[in-house]
Subunit: 539 residues, 2 copies
């Protein structure tokens, strides 16, 4: 393999595929600075079908060796990726700002989160989290039939296709949560870069590639593909070597991938995080006691990242009355002072404008507030928007509850708490549901909670849904259409489990057993032995 | 609710739906004794769409209350079902023999397994297995941003549709593994009885119904539906209240359910256990040393239950040569003395005959042995069959590797170990893969094992795949088409996890948290607290 003499901070337009850099020849594209409308150099070559196949076959070839690396090696590998990302320094930060229109402080904080995420997955990989080792010893004397020795561990599914998200160019992208959890599980990863930030993707992709090689891992553990259309992504999901898919994006995009995955000769799981309006319930005592503070918090959450967060509070419910009217007026006044923010891409800005228009034209919906219009005409900027509707209308027309991606929210006035519960019961699956309550609201909260548990992956008390902590207890998931698979999370360490499957070893001698299941417990794993959880070796 | 005065051992033809007994009015059917061809009384009424809806709505209505019952209550409920099944005594055994043609000893042993399975799931439910409680405490001083308290548990998915299997009228049926694991997880269950054994299904269904009522659980926790066609099952899977499906049966049936589930407004997971040829690899030293014993074991496994086991050894691979020829001759001689067995249904017998015919007519396949023909003409009986083929032909025509459900197996002669590995690499997903080896074969086994881990849910050493132990470490699953979802198992206690999803609780006061996540740990669960596994309460 020729030594790569290119400065890791130089963006070349080439794709890291295995140990190589490959210029895609299926057309080319450039990134756009959404704040200025300027095209950014260089040009990126789109992956051909052969490039996709090469990445997938390389991942397949790497799989058996990579999945059998000791947990410590995988952990060090993840930590090397984190270090390599940090070593890119300002070059990465500046390119990320240019390709997304997001402010520097946000990008820096997202880099911090991405690095911390890699390190947390490294820590859990080192512990062997998810391996779930179980041993049921032989019972030669059992009647009527003896039992032979039976053991189980979870092994990785195989190469995983990851799609970079538009709205988190680092944390949900090339070395983001899906990649980190798949690599921690022992799966090679092939990333399809988001077309809006190929430069960030190349920089981070080469940081991962360098970490693969520096740790002596098989080159196919990681590859990156460019394409500004759908062909490479579709070919990737359809490739027989790919065994699971991670995606964060639109409902339409996620459903399209689900269809491709289901139509394969061997259908595979898709973890698509798609669409959520993240309902917020303002319970009566809380709303009466601190409506103004709630309105302030709401507008902060609504406009964070120009509303381009999957956990954006798109629906707010309360019992109709003076307190809710005051909340609306306060929120509207705060919103009026908000500048129109730069959206990630012209396409997202156009979809936002049409989503707002749809609400605006709806006969049952009342305009309740707008952000500053200044600059909103300039293609990629979004003027925040607040609308109001009665719960009766929402119950009559479920389309009012569909996501408008961006800083737009719908205030829903309910007749009473019973109607609020009825609306909750009619919600589609959500990433989050938020309750604001005082002590006097506890009974009302108790009534809503069982419904919200069925509808959402995360229930937030007296806070706002935006801001997703990376930790063991986080769930960033939820029933369809919040995700394609509500049995899992894409943030937090439980994400590792998405990429594992159980394998049972019956009556195998020690020499043929995997390390996790040796009597001596050489990996020091927590195991269930003859029904009892223990970390002790078997004597 | 009127008290049910009917003797629980009387078969009425009515469906237990919630607390009621309902006579279906969408046509009717009777069971058949496959050994005699005689129709059995009484007639069973098929479920109307309204019956299906009633069962599903009743399950939905029961869900919130049932899922919040303490683990001990659910455990007692499962134990009551086991006791009620045993209390049916000979009536159940005799009806099961009549409806399946299986011998009494087999049915008694299957009842024992089913009862033990219910009790094992009860034990794990009592421990709170699968709840996976995690707590990340608040970090108010953290910079740059504080962290609020974040907790997680797994909650049940919702009502589960279970389809009874033809080949295990007790263990994979009304109160079988899918039902037991779903109930243990906290999901209400609606069972579609297999049309071949409605009488067994009614008896067991009423045993479950009585256990629901005796334990004071909401009536919708369990319902049973009859239909000898596909309408009720299809309506069941399509019903919005149903949140997951458990199925054991044919590939065609499983794929049809996958399609219905994927086409719903809210797609839901399907756990279908479908199709597997369970390859057996006879490694050279073992084959040379004990070919005769291997042939004996093979014929026993092949003909067990008239070959109607999902783990039936349908393909046997070895390196071509004298030892494999002797194995074939020994197996053929043993097979020639095997009586034609009664198959479960005329439909299964017809499918078996046509599968054998397909092999017989294939130009590359050589007939290698047949069981006794006596009685084989009588519709429901199966004459065992052994065929031989070269690995080259199998590699050229993958259809030779498709399952023939029944006592038929294909001996595959490989050029060498490398070709044996090549065949393994080309296999579809399997429930099991079996290796016979001596110490001198360890290297060959080491070469095959990584491939088999990718292909199968269970790897058996020096044994036979038939016979699936119910324990913590068992995996009865595998990549498609062995199952629709290789991330799970349908036998063993890990089956509980199929029916759970994680929910996160952010910044909720103790009073609003579920018991599993209270500081005091009132359920005594193993939890991960601030990254560290512990059973201790939080002070």
């Amino acid at each position: 393999m020729p030594i790569d003499m290119t400065d890791p901070t130089t963006i070349t337009g080439e794709m890291p595929i295995g140990a190589r850099r490959v210029r895609g020849e299926a057309g080319c594209f450039r990134a756009l600075d959404p704040a200025t409308g300027a095209m950014l150099e260089p040009a990126f070559g789109c992956a051909t079908e052969a490039d996709v196949a090469r990445a997938c076959e390389s991942a397949h070839a790497a799989f058996d060796a990579y999945r059998r690396t000791p947990p410590g090696i995988r952990a060090t590998f993840l930590e090397t990726i984190a270090a390599n990302m940090l070593a890119l320094g300002d070059v990465l930060i500046e390119r990320a700002c240019a390709e997304t229109g997001l402010p520097r402080a946000r990008i820096e904080s997202e880099r911090g989160r991405t690095v911390a995420q890699l390190r947390l997955f490294a820590a859990r990989a080192r512990e062997g989290d998810g391996i779930d080792a179980r041993i049921d010893g032989a019972l030669p004397e059992r009647k009527p039939l003896p039992r032979v020795d039976i053991r189980m561990q979870r092994i990785p599914l195989g190469p995983v296709a990851v799609f970079g998200a538009s709205n988190f160019p680092l944390a949900f992208s090339v070395a983001g949560g899906d990649t980190a959890s798949a690599l921690a599980a022992g799966c090679p990863v092939v990333v399809k870069a988001h077309a809006a930030h190929p430069g960030i993707s190349e920089l981070v992709g080469r940081a991962v590639q360098a970490a693969v090689l520096a740790n002596g891992l098989p080159e196919g553990v990681f590859s990156l593909l460019f394409d500004d259309g759908f062909a490479a992504g579709a070919a990737l999901v359809a490739h027989p070597a790919i065994k699971a898919v991670g995606f964060t994006g639109s409902r339409r995009g996620g459903v399209a991938l689900m269809k491709i995955a289901a139509a394969r000769a061997e259908p595979i799981p898709v973890y698509a995080e798609m669409s959520s309006v993240n309902p917020v319930f303002l319970l009566p005592a809380a709303l009466a006691a601190r409506g103004k503070a709630l309105a302030t918090g709401f507008v902060e959450s609504l406009t964070l990242g120009v509303g381009q967060l999957c956990t954006n509070p798109g629906v707010v419910l309360a019992v109709a009355g003076v307190a809710f009217e005051q909340f609306k007026d306060t929120a509207a006044a705060l919103l009026a002072a908000r500048h129109a923010g730069v959206m990630l891409t012209p396409g997202i800005a156009a979809a936002y404008a049409s989503g707002v228009e749809r609400l605006h034209e709806h006969p049952a919906v009342r305009a309740a507030g707008r952000g500053e219009a200044e600059g909103a005409a300039a293609g990629s900027r979004a003027q925040a928007a607040l609308y109001a509707v009665d719960a009766d209308a929402l119950l009559a027309d479920a389309s009012l509850g569909e996501e408008v991606f961006g800083p737009c929210s719908l205030l829903v006035a309910c007749r009473d708490l019973a109607q609020m519960r009825e609306v909750a019961e009619r919600l589609e699956g959500q990433l989050t549901a938020t309750l604001h309550f005082d002590a006097a609201d506890h009974d009302a909260a108790q009534t809503l909670l069982p419904v919200l548990e069925r509808k959402a992956g995360r229930i937030v008390g007296n806070g706002w849904p935006t801001g997703v902590e990376v930790c063991d207890a986080m769930v960033h998931g939820g029933p369809f259409p919040a995700t394609s698979d509500g049995r899992s999370t894409s943030v937090g360490t439980a994400a590792i489990e998405r990429f594992l499957r159980p394998v049972c070893y019956q009556n195998l001698p020690q020499r043929l057993l995997p390390d996790a299941l040796h009597d001596a417990n050489p990996l020091g794993l927590p195991r269930r032995v003859d029904g009892v959880p223990t970390q002790a070796p078997i004597k």
